[in-house]
Amino acid sequence: MKSKVIDLDAALDNVKDGMSIMIGGFLGLNAPLACIDRMVERGIKDLTLITAVNSYVGGGLGIGKLFENHQIKKYIGSHVGTCPAATEQHVKGEIEVEYFPQGTVVEKIRAGGAGLGGVLTPVGVGTLMEEGKQKIEIDGQTYLVEKALKADVAIIKGYKADKVGNILYRGTPNTNPLMPLAADYVIAEVDYIVEPGEIAPDQVGTPGILIDAVVMGYGEEKTHEIFRNIWIRDKKLA
């Protein structure tokens, strides 16, 4: 099998202005920070960003930077609240925001990747979430029909990848295992790259067949430093 390991910039050449993009991570944790930082430097713009949650509280890390640098045209996810720039741009009408309950956006991504038309969820019934949506009755219960979501690109974060793209996750993998099925081009940023066979088959969180490019992220040491520093800054650690 051919190696999928490429330079981070070569991978990002496939991310163009105006594209829809799913980015893994939960408030910055297990997010592809190196790719995002480079996307900021490259200034790729007019993006439709799809994530489960928004940036680390207060912004300044991960996808927060994409909002701060005005690269987002539309945001699809469960909140803007943790990201001051996203909140401000939303309130001023500078970006379009489409809210979904977190479990719903997660299932919409999963459905997109799994070839399903959408999701039948009881969540949001009786709320604004109903607006403009089909509803369906099953055994006397009402469900919203939430359509499947796909994207042009997904950028995910793994702990280790082998050269053919098998991903091992560590800690809380959050949305990373879902997105590779739902996008046309999939970049996996990881902190270690190993040889095929070094990740045990039943510890693979995402099979390599779903990954187009493996890129080296900041590595474990720098990743640790980033989080240690923000947690110290925010008085979570001392």
Binding site: F26, G93, Y99, V106, V123, M129, G171, T172, F227
Partner: protein
Amino acid sequence: MEYRELIARRAAQEFKDGYVVNLGFGIPVLAASYIPEGVEVILQGENGIFNFETVSKVGEEDPYLADAACQPVRVLPGGSTVDIAMSFAIIRGGHVDATILGALEVDQEGNIANWALPAAPGKLVPGMGGAMDLLVGAKKVICTLQHTDKKGRSKVLKKCKLPLSAAKVVDLIITELAVMEVTPEGLVLKEVAPGVTIDQVKAVTEADLIIPDSVPEMVL
């Protein structure tokens, strides 16, 4: 007692041994500090983590592991992490015993509003996060909030005015003044805070309150 501590202490009494619980930010998380003796609960974070505790000393953190507020945590023996689809499958599928969440408003039908404030015409903030899923999925929904807003207006209403997070889901409302239970008959006053009279509660409650013959004081 400071109102936050009072509400958290009372909310903690709702924990039963073995419960899987998801706690919202603020007062709900504080409730974990007052879990009764002999009661063991399993904390769930909607980012996909079970049975954890926050860590606070440099060196204890794992940069790949955090709770749903992105605080550094450790997984306790018997705990686990899962992906977020599994996490919300567990939430929505009814496998979380109780959630404690804050609210902007609640009403006597058990409706709750806790995700949307109009910041500009047609612009709602901050967004619902995982609250809607928890409200619909958790077996028991406990809502903790201050009884009134800064202007003294009741947040326990006949009918919520803000956009709902979920309809008819709240089981118990705990404020710094009272504990109220949503029942098919209406909102029942179950307890009052120490030193607070029923009339004082009624005076700041817009909702219709059903007052039983005996309304005990909270035991904190």
